[in-house]
Amino acid sequence: MKAHRRQPLYLAFLLHRLSGLGLALFLPLHFYILGTALAGAEAFDAALGWTEGPLIKVAEFGLVFLLAVHFFGGLRLLALENLPWSNRHKNYAAVAVAVAFFVACGFLLRAV
């Protein structure tokens, strides 16, 4: 990574952009699987069956993390753009990642 980018708030930006992109690319798949319910509960169950393996659980952990980190990071940005300025944004960005990870772990512990 270029030297001038190796600083926390650039990484926060990158994480926000890539998590958003990841979620945007995931959503069509998500909507497709939910849409199988149009053909009835059995069809929906069959589709949900694809999501049972351990690798899928790890992927779901990743997706929950992406959603949570994009959410908490987004709150930080809404605050930055609408509330009085704070010099603590490096701290807020770190907290956002930490809480998102905690939330994703909570999901994983219940998923296994």
Partner: protein, 246 residues
């Protein structure tokens, strides 16, 4: 320091059509700055090297260059603090076209300053008393926090939105616009707000704070731009609500 090993310095040589790095071996000296290194190269190794400097004491901003990928005032950058294994890489500022070697063309930087309406416009005259503005007033504090910009373009070189969006006005121009929007003597607030709310204006900033990380005067253009965002969206929403319903 004399007697220690020389530093290997890669310096970008070329012009608008392209170029490449040239390598020089420069003797180390105590308290040596990167500007000292570049000057030594021109005086002892290669007189054809072009570079800019003026005050050489950290007041004018003319000597700004990329040092190991980071935009810095070379007169205030000690070699000891930035060399990696006795190596240095010196390049012209990022995001600006190159004229020759380490000299870049600052025209677009100043064009964007003008496009952001970065000029003060008052309606006072010498017949009137000096404006009585307390330095403690919130608007004056905001203006003062942003006012020490000397147009060195380090923030412009650091900004990735500048490199991704050619229309983006950039941190320095927007920071100046913010300081003027907070100047109660200025009469051009409306047209300036229009200018900075347009495409390529303050709304393009992604708050990466690269500008704030590297500004040698410790300014924070991201904070200024956040203030402009509030002004721009607030003004837009007020105008929307003031419009009669049809």
């Amino acid at each position: 320091m004399q007697g220690s090993s020389p530093i290997q310095v890669k310096v970008w040589r070329g012009d608008a059509d392209g170029g490449d790095f040239a390598e020089y071996e420069v003797p180390q000296q105590s308290s040596q700055t990167v500007l000292d290194v570049v000057t030594w190269i021109q005086r002892h190794a290669d007189a054809s090297l072009s570079y800019r400097f003026a005050c050489r004491v950290g007041m004018c901003g003319s000597c700004a260059m990329m040092v190991n990928g980071i935009p810095r005032w070379t007169c205030r950058t000690h070699v000891n603090k930035v060399k990696q294994d006795n190596r240095l890489i010196v390049e012209p500022l990022r995001n600006l076209p190159v004229i020759k070697d380490l000299v870049c063309d600052m025209s677009q930087f100043f064009e964007k300053w003008k496009r952001a309406e970065g000029q003060f416009g008052g309606d006072g005259s010498r017949q009137q008393p000096v404006a009585a503005i307390s330095p403690a007033e919130p608007a004056r504090r905001a203006a003062n926090a942003a006012i020490e910009c000397i147009n060195c373009a380090i923030c412009y070189a650091a900004c990735d939105v500048v490199s991704w969006n050619p229309d983006y006005l950039g941190p320095a121009a927007l920071n100046r616009a913010w300081s003027l929007q907070n100047d109660v003597r200025d009469r051009r607030h409306d047209e300036r707000l229009q200018a900075v709310s347009a495409d390529g204006g303050c709304l393009s900033c992604h708050s990466q704070q690269g500008c704030a990380s590297f500004c040698p005067n410790e300014l924070n253009p991201t904070a200024s731009i956040a203030g402009l965002k509030k002004m721009a969206t607030g003004s837009f929403m007020k105008k929307k609500y003031r419009q009669p319903h049809g």
